[in-house]
Each structure stands twice: as structure tokens, then as C-alpha cells.
């Protein structure tokens, strides 16, 4: 059975369809990656339109709280096996928005990220490098972020709810000093 799994993993690595969630400035790096200069299709990676069809979720840049909600929903609509690529510094630690009240700091607290691409912006070569790396990981059976998500669902859910479903002000002591209006 394990041979079968290896075969399946081998072909999965050769055919990864990507859903790009273009939240930030990073989206501009994708057209060159897709088109003739760098051509990601030669790795079997094709952009797809909906989460149902996709294997990779590529988050291109910073995520506001509002967009995080959509990303989580989209991620949950995707079907296993699925992988997440965090693109750019913003997904790693918030990047230049590290102290922003509205931009999350680290994507992998909310959904499992298989590979981060560092840089601001990462160049298309870096994206392709990540794809190749992901392909190797998939073929070795290492990219199991979606299983981690299922296993630690409560932890991820708690983190998501902490950000998305706030019921009281975050900074309580300041609230006493200044009142709105």
C-alpha cells in the first residue's frame, strides 16, 4: 500500500493546481511567474478559479482581519490534499505592518502553512523555488499541513476566533480613559 501512496504522491507533486488569493501587493509578481519569462506551467502548476479545484492556496501578502476570515473560509472549502504557500514577509511576521492594528502577524497561527517565501517582494524565481520545494516535499510525503490542521483544529479555531470573533475591547485600560464621541 505504501508503494501506491508513493506513486500517488509522485503524481500529486507533478500536478498542483493553484488558487492565488491576491490580497496584497504581491499579486503583481504572479503574472510574470505564469507567463513566458518564468512559466510555472512547466511544473504542472496552473492557476485555478475556485477552491474546489485547487491544491495550493497561495496567499500573496498581508492579510487584514477582514481578509483572514475569507482565507479561512476558502481554505476550508478546499479538499484534501491541500497546501498553503505564504508569500512575502507579511505572511511571516506582518512585514512592514508588524504593528498594525488590522493586519495579522503570522499566517500559520490561523491556517497551516507548508512553505513560506521570504522577501518583500519575493521575485518570481523565489516563487518557483517554493513550488519546486513543495513538489519535493509532496513527493516525499512531508507536506502534511492539511493533516496538521485537522489534528490541531481546536488550537487553530481558538486562534481564529480570538481575532475574528472578539466580544470585548482588546485594550481595556485605555477604554476607560477615552470614550468615543
Amino acid at each position: 500500500m505504501s508503494e501506491w501512496t508513493e506513486i500517488v504522491d509522485y503524481f500529486r507533486g507533478r500536478s498542483m493546481w493553484m488558487l492565488h488569493y491576491c490580497t496584497g501587493c504581491g499579486a503583481i509578481e504572479l503574472p510574470p511567474t505564469m507567463t513566458s519569462r518564468w512559466d510555472m506551467e512547466r511544473f504542472g502548476i496552473t492557476p485555478m478559479a475556485t477552491p474546489r479545484q485547487a491544491d495550493i492556496l497561495l496567499i500573496t501578502g498581508y492579510l487584514a482581519i477582514k481578509t483572514l476570515k475569507r482565507v479561512v473560509y476558502t481554505y476550508e472549502q478546499m479538499q484534501a490534499p491541500k497546501w498553503v504557500l505564504g508569500f512575502g514577509s507579511c505572511t511571516i511576521n506582518g512585514g512592514i505592518y508588524w504593528d498594525s492594528y488590522n493586519v495579522i502577524e503570522s499566517l500559520d497561527k490561523y491556517i497551516p502553512v507548508d512553505i513560506y517565501i521570504a522577501g518583500c517582494m519575493p521575485r518570481p524565481e523565489a516563487i518557483l523555488d517554493a513550488f519546486v520545494k513543495l513538489k519535493e516535499m509532496v513527493q516525499k510525503g512531508e507536506a502534511k499541513g492539511y493533516e496538521k490542521y485537522v489534528k490541531n483544529y481546536d488550537w487553530y479555531k481558538a486562534n481564529q476566533d480570538r481575532v475574528l470573533k472578539r466580544t470585548s475591547p482588546v485594550l481595556k485600560e485605555i477604554e476607560k480613559v477615552t470614550k468615543i464621541g
Binding site: V8, F11, R14, S15, S36, E41, R42, G44, P47, M48
Partner: protein
């Protein structure tokens, strides 16, 4: 004895189905490669579609109920059934039933099934896509039918096998020489049938999220891929049998099919997408004119049968 015969036919049928699927997938892969080269890319390996299909069948998917499942199965099963009546080179599995209009209507059953499946998903994008696909069908089927009818009148038979047999004996006997206008009309209609640009309104990915396929994932998308690949084989195969004189063996047959598909890919590579009502009315203008002109020529040449 009958049972043995039936089992032999069954085995042959599965063989033909597998062959058609493999050819369709290969064509798709080569098409992607050609497209990449036109765009000065390296392109995916030409086996990419096989890998994609394999991956899709190993991937999880969501179902929206039994109508969704039934519809998607009904989307590719009739397509495979229609292959059994198509003369592939010298070989036809069921030559006595190879009526052209019947094959066309079996293909429509596949569209009906597909439509049922994707519409049962309840996504408005798929409904918009389906409505576009149907409107486009109202366009390309009309010139296609006009040409089918002129071939009927010309060959005085409705069997594809006999139409092929009548064209044997060299290039000058092919219907493409005798009915060039009809061939032109069919070639344009083929572009619409295969849903390639400028007639890819139904699956406009950036516009309506790939239209009918919006809710399909995993094996359902795989079924859609089978339908498309087998449909590619079937539709180009029909044109080869109608106009390019069939073929003495399988390899020449797929070579001829590939020539047709190559033209489609080239057109696909250079044209943008039309708006849907422009596309539909386009088919009612030039291709229909060509098809009817061809029919009139055939009739004037003495094609009318005395009943």
C-alpha cells in the same frame, strides 16, 4: 455463442473507450505544449493531462447530492457510448448503427447530463456558464447541421461508415475537395464545439469562475476532463470521417484528427474571447451562410432524392 460475441464486443468497446480517452488527453497535453510554444514558454510535459486526471481521481471532492453525482456520470458516459458508433480508421464497433444524427444527439445527452450535474450544485456561476454554453450551442449546431444535411444529400446515406467508404481511393475523393465550403463551416463550428477561444464564454475563468465547473473538484472535475477529452476525440473524429476520408489505419486517423485540432489551437492562441451574444450570432452569419450555400450547391448538382 452470442455471449462470447457480446463479450468480445464489450472488450473491444472498453479498448476503444480507453484509446479515445488516451488520445483525447494526449491531444490536450500537446495542445497545451503548442500553446506554450506560441507564447514563447517551455510548457508542461505533453503527458501533463494524464497526470492531472490521475491526481484528480486521487483527490477528495464535495458532492451536492445524488443529482450532482448522477449528472456528472451522465456527462461522460454517453460520450463514451457515442465513440462506439464512430468509424475509427477502418474499424467501427457497431457499424450498423453509425448514424450521424444519432451520434450528434448522443453527444447532446452528455451535455444534458453535465448540465444537470453542474446546475444541481446550486451555484449561480455554473448556471450562468451553462446558459452561455447552451446559447453557444444554439449557434454552432445550426451550421453544423446544415453541413451534415448536405453530406447526407451528397452521399445519399446516413451511415458514417458508408460516407467514409465513398471517399476511399485518394485525396481527390475526399469530401473536403468536393465540399470545401461545408468543411470551412464545420471547422468554424468545431472551434465552438470544443469551446476554444474565441468561443470559451462558458468557462471564462476570470469572469465567472470557470462557469459550469465552479463547484467541481477531484473526481467530478476528472469526469469533466474525460468528457472534454473524449468529446475532443469524437468531434474531430466525426469531421475526419465526414471530410477527410476516414483513414486506412488508426495512426493516420489520429494524425488527421490532430491536424484539425492543431488549427483549432492556433486560432485559440491568437484570438480573444467574444461576448456571448456576438458569438452566437456570428455562427448564424458566416458559417451558416457557408453551410447553406454548400447545401444549395449539392442540391443543384442533383442531390435531391426522388422518393
Amino acid at each position: 455463442m452470442v455471449i462470447v460475441e457480446f463479450l468480445i464486443k464489450l472488450a473491444q468497446g472498453f479498448g476503444i473507450g480507453a484509446l479515445a480517452l488516451a488520445t483525447g488527453l494526449l491531444f490536450g497535453g500537446i495542445g497545451r505544449k503548442i500553446m506554450a510554444r506560441i507564447q514563447r514558454r517551455y510548457g508542461p510535459p505533453f503527458t501533463q493531462n494524464f497526470i492531472d486526471l490521475f491526481k484528480l481521481f486521487s483527490k477528495g471532492s464535495v458532492s451536492h447530492g445524488w443529482a450532482f453525482d448522477l449528472g456528472l456520470v451522465a456527462g461522460f458516459a454517453p460520450m463514451l457510448a457515442a465513440i462506439m458508433f464512430l468509424p475509427i480508421g477502418p474499424f467501427t464497433l457497431l457499424p450498423s448503427d453509425s448514424s450521424l444524427i444519432m451520434i450528434v444527439y448522443l453527444m447532446m445527452m452528455a451535455y444534458l447530463g453535465m448540465a444537470m450535474g453542474v446546475l444541481a450544485s446550486g451555484n449561480p456561476n455554473s448556471a450562468i456558464g451553462m446558459s452561455r454554453a447552451l446559447m453557444l450551442m444554439a449557434g454552432y449546431e445550426v451550421p453544423f447541421a446544415a453541413v451534415i444535411f448536405s453530406v447526407y444529400l451528397f452521399s445519399k446515406t446516413g451511415y458514417l461508415t458508408q460516407i467514409v467508404a465513398q471517399q476511399s481511393g485518394g485525396f481527390m475523393n475526399w469530401n473536403i475537395v468536393k465540399m470545401p465550403l461545408g468543411f470551412l463551416a464545420v471547422e468554424i463550428a468545431l472551434q465552438g464545439m470544443l469551446g476554444e477561444k474565441p468561443f470559451d464564454q462558458a468557462i471564462a475563468p476570470a469572469e465567472i469562475a470557470s462557469g459550469p465547473m465552479v463547484e467541481l473538484g477531484g473526481k467530478y472535475l476528472g469526469f469533466g476532463m474525460i468528457q472534454h477529452s473524449v468529446g475532443l476525440f469524437l468531434e474531430t473524429g466525426i469531421v475526419v470521417d465526414l471530410f477527410l476520408g476516414g483513414a486506412p489505419n488508426f495512426w493516420i486517423f489520429i494524425a488527421k484528427q490532430f491536424v484539425l485540432y492543431f488549427v483549432v489551437i492556433l486560432v485559440d492562441a491568437i484570438l480573444p474571447r467574444l461576448r456571448i451574444h456576438e458569438a452566437t450570432s456570428f455562427f448564424w452569419k458566416l458559417p451558416l451562410f457557408l453551410g447553406i450555400l454548400q447545401a444549395v450547391i449539392v442540391i443543384i448538382q442533383g442531390g435531391v432524392l426522388n422518393v
